[in-house]
Each structure stands twice: as C-alpha cells, then as structure tokens.
C-alpha cells in the first residue's frame, strides 16, 4: 500500500477513536466541563497532561531544532522539562488546594482585586490564542504534506474535530481523548526512532543508541555515533555537533526563561484540578513528567540520527541521483537547492545560508516554482555569495526522517497521525482555558455573578466554539507576528505570572500593590526589550548591543527578577494585606483537614 493510503487509514482510525471517546464521556455539568468532575485517575491524568504539554512544536519541530543547534539545543530539552519540575513543586499542589477552577481565580482572590483578576484573564487568553493558532497551523501543515490537501482544508478538518470533542465533552471529553492521543503520539515518535537506532547503532533503545558505536549494515565501525557526526560536521565546515556555540550566559538565561515561562502556562496548571486530592495531583505530576521524558530523551537521539543520515547521504551527490524524498520535499518548499557552481551536484556545507530568506516562487504551472532542465525547482530568492547550495527546513528532520531512513510506508503514515495527535491535544486544552476564562472568570465572576449553572455551561460552550473559529482563522491566515510571539510567550509569562503566583503562595506579606506593580514592570521591561530588538530595530539584534550578552529569548529571566524585586519592595512600603488573605494563604499551604479547627 502507498504512503497516502496508509496515512488515510491511520489518521482516519485515530480520529474515529477520538470522536468515540468524546461521545462516551461528554460533560453534563460545569464541574465536568471545567475540571472533569475532579474524578480522573492519576495515571490517566498524567498521560493527558503529557499530551496537553507536548504540542505540535514538541513533536514536529523540536528534534529538528536540536539537530541544527547541536549541544545548545539542550535549552529546549531542559527548559521545557525543568519548567515542569517548578510547576509540580511550586505551583500545582497549592493551586489544587485552593480548589477553584483557574489561575485568574487565584490571582483575583489572593490579591483581593477585580483588576488583578481581569489582567490575569486577559494574559491567559492572549497566551492561549497565540499558542492555539500555532497548533491549528501544525494540523494544516501535516494534512497538506502527507495527504495532499490544501492547508486551509486541513485546518478546517482539524477545527471540526476539536470543535466536536471540546465543545461537547469539555474537560472530561478532552482528558480521555488526550489519553488516547498520548498513546498515538508516543507510539508514532518511538517507532521510527527505534528502527533508525537499530539501523545506525544495532541498538534498539534510542537513548542508548545515541551514545553507542556507529554501525553500517550491522558491522561496527570502531567509532561512536557522536564522534562520527562531529567528524562529518567539521569536515563540511559546520560547528562540532557536541560543542556549544552560544555564550554560556545567554544559554543560562534562555533556559531559565523557558523553565519559568513553561511553569506559568495556564492550560497545564488547570490539569491539576482534575484529580480528587492533592496527593493525586502530586502523583499525576510524576506520571506526566515520566511520559514527557520518554519523548524528550528520544528527541536528541532522533536529532543526531537524522543529522548523521542527512550529512551521509546528501552533500556532494548529483541532483539526478538524489533520493526520492529529497525531490518530494522540494515540492513543499521545505528543501530548496540552487546550483551555484553549475556542477549539477548538491553542495551542502557550513558556509552560511544558501540564499536570502525562505524559498519562494510561484512561476510554474502548479503554483510552484518552475523546474530547470536538470529537474530542480527554481526559486526567486537571491543566492548568497558562499558555497552552500542547500536550504533545509528544520521540520524535515522529524517529518521526513522515516523516508530518509527508508522505513516502510505505514511508519510514515504513523508519523502523520502522531503529529496530528500532538497538535489536536494541545489545541483542545488551550481552547478549554479560553472558554473557561470567558465563561467563568469574565461572565460569572466579573459581569454576571447571578448566572445559573446551566447558563454558565452554555456560555462556556459558546466561548469554546467561538475560540475554535478564531483559532482556525489564525491558522489559515497566520498573522506574521504569531510565530515571533510564540517564541517569546515564555519570556512574557516568566516575567508576569510566575512571580505573582509564587509570592502569593510563599509570602503573606505581598499585597495587591506589590503584585500589580511587579507584573507591570516585569512585562513592560521584557516586552520593550523584545519589541525593540525584534520589530523596531532588528539590525541591532547582535550580542554586542544586548544587555549583558542576553538575547531577547532569554531576557524574560531578567524581567522576572525585576518583577520579584519590585513586588517585594512595593509590598513592604505599603500596608499589609487584610487578615482574610492570611487565612486564604494558610488554606493553600496546609492540607484541608489541618485547617478544620478554624471551620474552613
């Protein structure tokens, strides 16, 4: 069977499964809609959290990013998993004890301020929308590359599926669907990785294969895989793979901003409300990180396997002898080759980008660039002066990996189903945050306190439906800023939310003035630094101009430190928070039964 048939079968089966689960587990009350009635077992909740956490970017892009960054790619691996540790230790158990549905609920009550609540809601909605648009785009991209549909049609199909189970099932439907999606995505990630690990190192476990001896057709070559890749890289003029190229201080600040920012993502925090007891929240946090770690420790292995295969098979090969996948992905603009020296061979080396910008061109009959006499697509981009002739999009490293390694076509179909599972699970979780924020925090808590439970449930469903439509629109017409903003959402979350929540739990002295001025200073500082270097004056965006050599990606850490300083300073200079807040903080700190004598 062909790749397309396999892809249709596997994607179709997985979608049927998700819809079946949604029908079986649809929500009947706001409690079930927001937090699945708090009745989800820890293991299932751990899987759902892992699926929620791992977005289209984790599945499709991360290994590719790492394979082009080498050792520095560790900032994503450590950043996203290390942030999870902060979440599980510093936030989740306390917010779970607080016992309401959302982070804005906590901010609003702890800082006894409607303004603070509304600010938190707006931040949560903004972060969620930028994220969800990226997921929808991911769905469209998978559909278009594997099934030959238009990106638009792909996004519409994705919208329909998410609409169905998020609007109908609420958190309950989403949770059980995410359990299934986790299984699909981890299976789809591991199968190609295991195959390729055996091919390259005779070693079925990718995490061990990464450090094992390089082998060709089962015969060991007397050199480790990583040394082999280092050798190939330096031979072609790339940086040594296992060495870093960013400055230590920059890596330090980027990793910290990613960690702290991840901990503040609203759609993951809400997951801890779906279990019965604080003890279950802790245990499900453990399961979730274990499930996340399976993918995150495989990703660096996939990165090395793919990079090695690529550097082995492409540089110096004549275009007409290039493998089939090379030409297929050329059609999508993810690979582009320009024959600068006219020798008909593909030169790929570390001398810089092959041409200016991403490949563009629409002159040919199929709205794709025309082909030359030699067969390659001709792009409009101006070639650069260096000797490198090849443009490779980083996403290829995962998407084309099975083809590069000549794996059977069902594995390729499986990767498509896995990518969709990763994108849909994250999108659904985010949509739920948006609908909860609108129906609960805005409609019920701010504008219409006397709304009935039934009315709130309807409002939540309408909000979820509206959010799907808006997200789909952004998926089809991505505003240029989305890609930029997603990359910085972590820094913004780190410099605003995180200190306010942490101080709210661990200090009784922090008051509303401190919290709000801290958030404002943190986010203003971080946003202006990012906007200046990324949008106003991109030409200045070089290490010499940065503050202490910290790139805009890492500046959120500085914003966070400023936030802490300002929040503490202002709180100490202004009156203590009211007595009721001290009781509230106690309720968050101690198990509920320990508070029984005070009747709370």
């Amino acid at each position: 069977m062909s790749v397309q048939v396999w892809t249709f079968i596997l994607v179709g089966l997985s979608f049927a499964l998700y819809i079946g689960i949604a029908v079986w587990s649809r929500a009947r009350s706001t409690g079930e809609f927001y937090v699945a009635g708090k009745g989800v077992p820890s293991l299932a909740n751990g899987m759902a959290t892992a699926a929620d956490w791992m977005s289209a970017a984790s599945f499709i892009s991360m290994a590719g990013l790492i394979s082009f960054m080498g050792r520095d790619g560790a900032v994503y691996l450590m950043g996203w998993t290390g942030g999870y540790v902060l979440l599980a230790l510093l936030l989740a158990p306390y917010l779970r004890r607080f016992g309401k549905f959302t982070v804005p609920d906590f901010i609003g009550d702890r800082y006894y301020s409607k303004t603070a609540r509304v600010v938190a809601v707006v931040c949560a909605i903004f972060v969620s929308f930028t994220y969800v648009a990226g997921q929808m785009r991911g769905v469209g991209v998978v559909f278009s590359r594997f099934l030959g549909l238009d990106i638009e049609l792909g996004v519409l199909v994705g919208m329909a599926i998410v609409f169905f189970y998020a609007v109908l099932g609420g958190m309950k439907g989403i949770t059980y669907t995410q359990v299934a999606q986790y299984c699909v995505l981890i299976f789809a990630y591991l199968v190609p990785a295991i195959f390729i690990s055996i091919l390259l190192t005779n070693q079925p476990i990718p995490q061990i294969g990464l450090g094992a001896e390089y082998a060709v057709d089962g015969a060991k070559q007397g050199v480790s895989l990583l040394d082999k890749l280092d050798g190939l890289s330096t031979e072609l003029g790339f940086a040594t793979y296992t060495d870093g190229s960013k400055s230590t201080i920059d890596v330090f600040f980027i990793a910290m901003a990613l960690m702290v920012g991840t901990a503040g993502l609203p759609h993951v925090i809400v997951r801890f409300y779906t279990v019965k007891r604080v003890r279950d929240a802790r245990i499900s946090a453990f399961w979730a990180l274990l499930f996340i770690a399976i993918l995150y420790t495989t990703a660096p292995a996939v990165a090395v396997f793919a990079r090695t295969n690529l550097l082995q098979s492409i540089p110096g090969i004549a275009y007409e002898k290039a493998p089939g996948w090379f030409k297929n992905w050329e059609d999508t603009g993810l690979i582009a080759w320009v024959d600068k020296n006219g020798d008909g061979k593909i030169q790929y080396d570390g001398s810089g980008a092959a041409f200016v910008g991403k490949p563009t061109g629409k002159d040919g009959p199929d709205a794709r660039p025309a082909r030359s006499a030699g067969g390659e697509r001709l792009w409009d981009n101006a070639p650069t002066a260096n000797s490198n002739e090849l443009y490779i999009d980083r996403d290829i490293m995962v998407l084309a990996n099975p083809e590069i390694a000549k794996l059977p076509s069902w594995v390729i179909g499986l990767v498509a189903a896995g990518g969709l599972a990763a994108a849909l699970s994250t999108a659904a979780g985010l949509l739920l945050v948006i609908s909860t924020s609108v129906a609960h925090d805005l409609v019920k808590k701010t504008f219409h306190p006397d709304i009935t439970e039934k009315g709130e449930l309807i409002a939540a469903r309408i909000a979820a439906g509206g959010a799907v439509v808006v997200a789909g629109y952004f998926g089809i017409n991505p505003p240029g800023f989305v890609a930029q903003v997603v990359a910085f959402a972590f820094g913004l979350a780190a410099s605003s939310f995180f200190p306010a929540i942490i101080l709210g739990i661990f200090s009784k002295r922090i008051n509303v003035y401190g919290a709000i001025s801290g958030m404002v200073v943190g986010i203003l500082f971080t946003a202006s630094y990012i906007i200046y270097f990324k949008f106003i004056n991109p030409a200045d965006n070089v290490p010499e101009n940065w503050l202490w050599e910290i790139s805009p990606e890492g500046i959120g850490t500085v914003g966070m430190i400023l936030n802490f300083i300002v929040a503490i300073g202002v709180s100490l200079a202004t009156p203590r928070p009211p007595e009721a807040i001290r009781t509230l903080v106690d309720r968050v700190r101690y198990p509920r039964k320990a508070m029984a004598e005070e009747g709370s």
């Binding site: 560790a74 450590m78 540790v85 450090g211 990583l226 330090f252 420790t297 700190r589």
Partner: protein
C-alpha cells in the same frame, strides 16, 4: 474524622515543606544550570566509559531530564509522608 491539628504542628509542617523544596530545587539547579550549562565544557573533557557520550553533553541532553523525573518521584514520596505525619494515617 481526623484529630485536630495544632498551629505548632502546622508551622512545623510548613518548615519541613520549605526545606524539602529547597533541597530538591538545589539539585534541580545544580544538574540543569550547573552540569548542563555552567560547567558543561569542563565536564565534556570526561567521557562516560563504554559510550560515546561526553559527560557535559549527556547532562545537557539526557541526564538532567532523568534527574528531573527522580526529583518529582522523591517529592511525591516525601510530601505524602509529611501529610500523613500531620494528619495521622487518614489523609485528605
């Protein structure tokens, strides 16, 4: 129902909670930002015997994640025990 809990017992519980957090987060910091970033070049001079891993590279891309999983496992065990100590055998 559980026995009532004195304010002193609660204060002790919170102090223990904070010291558990301090311990775990120190390890978290030393492994990720320490071994994976600050000392990575020094550690890269050492190889893990029998593998192709340079130690710093391994911490940055593999080891730190394994340690994170272990940290949360320890946290779960210790905190559940602290809860039991505070409340008696019957927990929340």
């Amino acid at each position: 129902m559980s026995k009532s809990v004195s304010p002193e017992a609660r204060a002790r519980y919170w102090r223990k909670n904070l010291s558990v957090l301090a311990g775990l987060l120190s390890v978290w910091f030393l492994v990720s930002h320490g071994c994976g970033i600050l000392w990575v070049d020094q550690l890269d001079k050492i190889r893990i015997p029998g593998t192709g891993f340079k130690l710093g590279f391994w911490f940055a891309q593999q080891g730190s994640i394994y340690v994170f999983v272990v940290l949360i496992a320890i946290y779960v065990l210790v905190m559940n025990r602290l809860d039991r100590e505070l409340l008696g055998e019957d927990d929340e």
